[in-house]
């Protein structure tokens, strides 16, 4: 009855369409910009797949988007939760870090080095582990994110290193959405409290900027290890995570200066190796930052020059308690520091309507890469430092051969100081079958050079440094906007991976890296979306993916072969009140120790946008309290993933 009432009321309300109005009765510009539309996804503007803004249908590669509205409605609290909405991505957690598996490939212990992570185009994978941090320690608080674009596939022809399985670009909000003061508060039943304050201004001359401070704290974190012993579980109150973030942006026309920094302290009880009946606190301190300056300059009607300079810092210190031979409690201190600068120059040239050239050069100067291993920061045990450089040159040509056929070709050549030389070609074809239907074919390659950690570790053990891992991907995509309002798409891909860099854990704490056997990944991703006049929105994706070693046909561990994701938003009798249902289902995953069963998890959130300035979201994450396990760590320990949790978040804009 309630549902019938909801549908009926919403339909009546929407009968007052702007199509029926005369000019004098039109909504204000602000109201028009809030109107919902069912835009054909092929017309949506994206910038990640081609490294410049264009309609999604013009690219030979697919780009998926999660919007700020979805982030709000589903109360997504960090990048990890945002990424789990994308087709083909699987996210797991060890309660400290988030681990991504893309299209069936995700190696245990890998800190997401096979996905290139960008913030407004600035590369933020660090220069030690190539890690992309996606948990609470990601640079940008979710309420500052305008949208996240994910372009799956081999992207090295434009982006070089790390764009192995795809590129994720987090795009921050601009002055139109961040004006005045904003307060965002969120809390959940798992003792996590987030507070974020920001202030933004925009002047009519085009100057705009915002500043944001965020605090996130989680106490009493449940131990994910299902076999955690009593001495640990009794100290659960000591298991805590604390994050502070600062982010700021200034823009004037096409100039952007941005900075972001995050400071994290993670502490968790651990059993002492020397006395397993005793537990002490293991601590991680993490300090990351970046400053970027980018500018777009129109040279003439045909040419634009983009300049992008960024400098980043990464600092990680771990404190591991142990009992010294003399019997006293001391700490191993492990310091990792990285500092690097990227410069990217891109020239966009349109000599004719049917041709577009993108020519670019980008380089990375690793100023500092160091490890220090000591006891209590006074007794040095090991120290190593290095500095590296890498440079890449790329060219991409888009050719509109006929009105409905477009060809894209390109390549990139990368060179690093460690004598890595990689040539990454790319080919694409977009065939516009009709106004509402297209077929795309693409072939691309990508590489990931061994990172500093992998190199130095093997050199320490006097082993050969592994070769770069390589991937070739052939992909076909079909997309259609159907007359009944459904937008549907499907991608079929085949990837061949060589030299996959894999860790071999000789003892529990020692690791060596080697190039593993060749892998073939096959998969299909299907997506469908529709918006109804009642305000109901539905998005679903289904992925079937299989990654196997070529020689013995064994499946890669840590990868679900089937994923199903569903997002539904349904107005509850009024436009400003919505029920939002997110369903996530994964098939069984294998780990070296056991088979991890499949599961389906449901998040149910009620969002209330009482005014454009005030939004409240309340609901249950993992509403049915589904118990499920993942094994993202090299130890293959089965880790319990978060259970049911009530969540409340409030966003208030003081204009």
């Amino acid at each position: 009855m309630v549902i019938r009432y909801t549908v009926l009321t919403s339909t009546l309300l929407l009968c007052l369409s702007i199509a029926q109005l005369h000019a004098q009765q039109l909504p204000s510009l602000e109201e028009l910009l809030r109107q919902q539309t069912a835009t054909d996804p092929a017309r949506i503007e994206v910038s990640t797949a081609a490294r410049y803004a264009q309609s999604a249908g013009q690219s030979s590669q697919v780009t998926y988007i999660v919007t700020d509205e979805q982030i709000r409605r589903f109360s997504l609290r960090n990048l990890e939760q945002i990424l789990s909405l994308f087709p083909g991505l699987y996210v797991s957690s060890d309660s400290s870090y988030g681990y991504l598996t893309a299209r069936g490939i995700g190696r245990p212990g890998d800190y997401n080095s096979r996905l290139l992570l960008l913030v407004d185009g600035t590369r933020v994978n660090d220069n030690i582990y190539d890690a992309g941090m996606i948990g609470n320690n990601f640079y940008i608080a979710p309420q500052l994110i305008d949208r996240v674009e994910y372009s799956p596939g081999s992207g090295s022809a434009l982006y070089g290193n790390n764009a192995f399985l795809g590129v994720v670009n987090v795009i921050t909000k601009r002055g139109n959405k961040l004006q005045g003061g904003q307060l965002a508060v969120a809390a959940n039943q798992r003792d996590q409290h987030d507070v974020s304050v920001s202030y933004g201004v925009r002047h009519e001359s085009g100057h705009e900027g915002w500043l944001s401070l965020s605090h996130s704290q989680q106490d009493n974190i449940a131990f994910p290890d299902i076999n955690a012993p009593d001495p640990l579980t009794s100290q659960r109150s000591q298991n805590a995570d604390l994050n502070h973030k600062l982010a700021a942006s200034y823009r004037y026309r096409r100039l952007q200066l941005q900075l972001a920094g995050v400071s994290r302290t993670r502490q968790e009880p651990m059993l002492l190796a020397e006395d397993p009946s005793r537990s002490e606190i293991f601590k991680i301190k993490n300090r990351n930052y970046f400053i970027s300056l980018q500018h777009g300059h129109r040279l003439n009607e045909q040419m634009e020059l983009y300049t992008h300079l960024s400098t980043n810092g990464f600092g990680l210190t771990t404190f591991t308690p142990f009992i010294f031979p003399s019997g006293e409690l001391r700490q191993y201190q492990f310091d990792v520091t990285g500092k690097w600068t990227n410069l990217d120059l891109r020239l966009s040239y349109t000599p004719a309507s049917s041709h577009h050239l993108l020519l670019g050069i980008d380089g990375q100067r690793d100023h500092h890469q160091s490890y220090q291993f000591s006891i209590d920061d006074t007794i040095p045990v090991l120290g190593a430092s290095s500095d590296n450089n890498r440079v890449g040159f790329y060219l991409q040509h888009s050719w509109q051969l006929f009105d409905n056929h477009k060809f894209i070709s390109g390549f990139r050549y990368d060179y690093t100081k460690q004598d890595v030389r990689e040539f990454s070609p790319k080919l694409g074809w977009v065939w516009q079958l009709t106004d509402k239907q297209s077929v795309r074919l693409s072939y691309g390659t990508a590489f990931r050079a061994p990172n500093e950690y992998e190199q130095k570790t093997n050199l320490f053990y006097q082993l050969e440094v592994p070769e770069s891992e390589l991937i070739r991907t052939l992909e076909a995509n079909w997309h259609a906007q159907l007359d009944n309002g459904w937008s549907v798409g499907s991608s079929v891909y085949q990837s061949r991976v060589r030299n996959l860099i894999t860790a071999n854990y000789v003892q529990s704490t020692l690791v060596q890296f080697f190039n593993d056997r060749a892998v073939e990944a096959l998969g299909i991703e299907a997506t469908a979306a529709k918006s109804w006049q009642t305000g109901t929105q539905l998005q679903l994706s289904a992925s079937v993916q299989r990654a196997r070693y070529n020689n013995d046909q064994l499946s890669l561990t840590n990868s679900a072969q089937q994923l199903f994701k569903l997002n539904v938003s349904q107005p509850l009798g009024r436009d400003d009140l919505q029920l939002n249902w997110h369903m996530f289902a994964a098939s069984a995953r294998t780990s070296p120790l056991r088979q991890l069963p499949g599961y389906a998890r449901h998040d149910l959130m009620i969002s209330w946008q009482s005014t454009p300035q005030l939004s409240v979201v309340f609901g249950l994450k993992n509403a049915l309290d589904k118990v499920y396990l993942d094994a993202p760590l090299p130890s293959a320990a089965s880790l319990r993933q978060p259970g049911r949790s009530a969540e409340l978040s409030v966003n208030w804009n003081f204009r």
Binding site: I3, R4, T11, S17, I18, A19, L21, H22, A23, Q24, L26, S28, L29, E30, L32, L33, Q36, T37, A38, T39, P41, R43, I44, E45, A53, Q54, S55, T67, E69, R147, R174, G175, N176, R202, E204, G206, R253, R254, E301, T350, A352, S353, S354, Q400, D403, D435, Q481, G485, K530, S531, W532, Q533, T534, T536, L538, V568, L579, H602, A623, L624
Partner: protein, 164 residues
């Protein structure tokens, strides 16, 4: 019971009527076009009445014609780039980006120009509609607008996604 509720919600969603995507979106574009004109001032050669020209999108033309039927302003659906001589406001749809002659129409300084997509905007339009999932936003080339003698209201500029 939980599953039943979920199933009911999904069924109600599937059975509900779909948005008439094309006409609703075209009406929104037409309304935005009208508002852009309202928030812009011609500093010289102020047209006595606006002549809206729509290139490449008959649905926007229909929506705008309906919207302006009680006013004296003129709306024309362009079938050829050569028909734009008297236009004071020009709207070009996304697919015209592939045709060079339409892009040349953006060069006229006395004309307020609104285009769809980044491709045409880069060719020198003053306003660009940005298609986003579930939304339309816009960007403004303020430098070009001022060069062409237009004054754009601060209220509108605050709502623009990008100011170039």
């Amino acid at each position: 019971m939980r599953w039943l509720t979920a199933l009911l919600l999904l069924s109600s969603a599937l059975l509900a009527p779909a948005i008439q995507a094309q006409s609703a979106e075209a009406s929104l574009k037409a309304a935005l076009l009208y508002r852009f004109v309202q928030y812009s001032e011609w500093s010289a050669n102020v047209p006595e009445r606006q002549h809206y020209c729509i290139g490449g999108d008959p649905e926007v033309f229909t929506a705008l014609t309906a919207m302006l039927q009680q006013s004296e302003e003129q709306v024309t659906l362009l079938t050829d780039a050569n028909e734009a001589a008297t236009c004071t406001v020009l709207f070009l749809s996304l697919h015209l980006a592939k045709q060079a002659d339409w892009g040349l129409l953006l060069q006229s300084p006395a004309r307020l120009t609104v285009v769809e997509g980044a491709e045409l905007f880069r060719k020198g339009a003053m306003f660009g509609l940005i298609a986003e999932p579930q939304r339309i936003s816009f960007r403004v080339n303020l430098t070009l607008a001022r060069q062409n003698g237009f004054h754009l209201s601060a209220q509108m500029l605050k709502l623009a996604k990008e100011i170039h």
